[in-house]
């Protein structure tokens, strides 16, 4: 038993000066057990109970906002897709909407078919992101069967995305003025078929989550966030909706094609205010997303997918709001009648939500801190975004494209050559 002396670990810069007696400080991170991405939490614990948590972010700061000021709009679409690996498409929709919003002041309109294609890809992205989160959360609570099953089902969506765009991440579907790739009938049929399978699988996971003790015991009454606190701390997305706060930009401020099916749109909320609530909200949202995709595929209009936009964007200050899988995403664009943005401000959902984690952790056991942190689905690449690493030799870099058969051959060869690896 350690005597009641305050022991301080942690760096002096982040140290808490007003610690209560009988408490310890435990630094969690930057490399830590809950996530693959780096973040730091300074936990103040009394015995096993967390009394306070102080976040420190910025470990994956890459200078993207500054870099965006040096690139043209078209190049910026490529840049902002690299803000995050999982919610990449929504960033490019957001920037495209901002630039098109400025052009719209002069009467520019984007073809409706392009808006539908964008929205379909955005919803596919939401499905794969939510299922990925479900797997991660299941892994955090030690339910690895669900982790593997859900990630298997995620592959259906990943295949669809690869089918439409050619890529599993960073789909590069958008251009200012429309979409870069169209969908044909066979792709649409395949999507309808896969959406039915995904709905069926997610209904099964909903059953499992609502009835399975492994999940209920680890998530119920863990990470409580009351609605009042969620509002005060500016929570967004599923984190807010799991506390019963019904906000969803897709419904509240429709963009792209969301205005078209606003009457069938459901803002999914659940009112147990804990991590369990987050699980339920995300699973139901995935099912809803499949339903919206099916609606859009049946109602997608014919027509062009692209209209050539002027290179220069007229002077305007446009606030573009979109709903990323993790919550509300903001691109605030200042254009100055040139082909480059004057200022592009990106605010991502994790920055809004990270404050709520401290609130959710208070009063919980230390062992639950990982699932609580994972529960908001934090994305620190998104959040930090920003110091530049410029590779001077980037033009000399060699790029090789591998086809699927080549990849398969490489993998088979590797495994034959390394047979002992199996033992």
């Amino acid at each position: 038993m350690v005597d009641k002396k305050k022991i301080k670990v942690g760096s002096p810069q982040t140290g808490c000066s007003s610690c209560m007696p009988n408490t310890f400080e435990i630094p969690l991170g930057p490399q830590h057990p809950a996530l693959k991405e780096p973040t730091h939490f300074l936990l103040e614990v009394e015995g096993e109970i967390i009394v306070n948590a102080t976040p420190r972010i910025g470990y994956v700061h890459r200078g993207i906002e500054k870099l965006a000021e040096t690139k043209t709009y078209s190049a910026n679409l490529t840049l902002v897709e690299r803000v995050c690996g999982i919610c990449s498409h929504i960033h490019s929709i957001s920037l495209a909407n901002a630039a098109e919003g400025a052009l719209a002041l002069e009467g520019f309109e984007v073809p409706m078919r392009a808006q539908y294609i964008r929205t379909i890809v955005a919803e596919l992205e939401r499905i794969h992101s939510h299922i990925l989160w479900l797997g991660v959360a299941a892994h955090e609570i030690g339910f690895d069967t669900l982790f593997m099953l859900s990630w298997r089902d995620r592959e259906l969506t990943m295949d669809l995305l690869e089918d439409i765009s050619g890529n599993r991440v960073n789909y590069a579907m958008n251009e200012i003025g429309g979409s870069r790739r169209d969908m044909n009938q066979s792709q649409i049929d395949r999507m309808l078929k896969y959406m039915d399978i995904t709905i069926e699988r997610m209904e099964r996971y909903k059953d499992i989550c609502l009835n399975e003790n492994t999940i209920r015991m680890r998530t119920q009454e863990v990470g409580i966030l009351l609605p009042q606190k969620a509002r005060e701390l500016c929570a967004v997305g599923p984190t807010a909706r799991a506390s019963g706060v019904a906000i969803d930009v897709r419904y509240d401020d429709p963009y792209s094609a969301y205005g078209e099916f606003r009457d069938i749109f459901n803002v999914v909320t659940y009112d147990s205010n804990d991590v369990f609530s987050l699980v339920v909200v995300r699973i139901i949202e995935t099912i809803e997303a499949c339903i919206y995709i099916k609606w859009m595929l049946k109602n997608i209009p014919d027509g062009p997918i692209f209209k050539k936009a002027p290179r220069k964007v007229p002077e305007a200050q446009i606030l573009s709001r979109t709903e990323a899988p993790r919550g509300e995403l903001i691109h605030y664009l200042w254009s100055n009648n040139t082909n480059k943005p004057y200022r592009l401000k990106i605010t991502t959902p994790t920055l809004s939500n990270i404050n709520t984690v401290s609130e959710m952790m208070k009063g919980d056991y230390l062992a639950d801190s990982t699932i609580t942190l994972a529960s908001i689905d934090p994305c620190f690449s998104c959040e930090d975004r920003m110091i530049t690493v410029v590779n001077n030799d980037r033009r000399k870099a060699k790029v090789e494209t591998w086809s699927e058969s080549q990849l398969r051959k490489y993998s088979n060869d590797w495994h034959t050559a390394n047979k002992r690896w199996k033992k």
């Binding site: 760096s11 810069q13 420190r56 972010i57 910025g58 700061h61 200078g63 906002e65 500054k66 870099l67 040096t70 919003g101 719209a104 002041l105 509002r231 005060e232 701390l233 500016c234 929570a235 019904a246 906000i247 419904y251 509240d252 401020d253 429709p254 200050q317 606030l319 709001r321 509300e328 903001i330 605030y332 200042w334 100055n336 004057y342 200022r343 401000k345 605010t347 920055l351 809004s352 990270i354 404050n355 930090d384 920003m386 110091i387 530049t388 410029v390």
Partner: protein
């Protein structure tokens, strides 16, 4: 068009009649967007008025801009009329200029909305705006050993790539 923007126009009119000359600029930019500009401490009054009258609880983000005329400004984005009962939200961009470039100061909205803390810390890190009343303005995004007084998002902070471009332009001129 004029009918669909009626709600937005009503909000602008209400603000104008309530605050009079304190509102420096107010306009309906487009559907669901309002731009308002006020001087330094008045933004807190506008925020608390909107919170009482329209229950504006949702602060979306706080942006910071180094404007072309060299003035540093902060923009508070919030739902002035939050979504309720199937209505769409109307969001407002509330811009406040700092009067001094060397030591820009603004009153913090922390006491009205606690969630403003991190948005303001981000703006403090990257643009150097000091939000008076924010309980903790320590480094949030930049590393702890980043030099003091250097703010990367200001226009006088140049990246290597920007310096190269400037040098190329000067060469061409010669």
């Amino acid at each position: 068009m004029s009918q669909t923007l009626q709600d937005e126009q009503n909000i602008v009119d209400t603000l104008k009649s309530q605050f009079g000359k304190k509102i420096l600029e107010a306009e309906v930019q487009q559907e669901r967007r309002i731009n308002v500009k006020v001087a330094d401490p008045d933004h807190l009054e506008v925020l608390s008025f909107a919170m009482k009258k329209w229950q504006a609880w949702h602060l979306i983000a706080i942006s910071s801009v180094d404007k072309p005329d060299g003035v540093i400004a902060a923009v508070y984005h919030f739902d002035v009329r939050p979504p309720f009962g199937g209505q769409v939200a109307i969001s407002m961009n509330l811009m406040i200029d700092c009067d001094n470039r060397d030591n820009p100061k603004l009153a913090s909205a922390y006491n009205l909305i606690n969630g403003a803390e991190f948005f303001e810390r981000e703006a403090h890190d990257l643009m150097g705006i000091v939000f008076e009343g924010n309980p903790n303005l320590s480094k949030l995004i930049l590393p702890d050993d980043f030099p003091e007084g250097v703010y990367p998002l200001r226009k006088d902070f140049l990246l290597e790539i920007q310096k190269e471009e400037l040098a190329k332009k000067e060469k061409k001129k010669r």
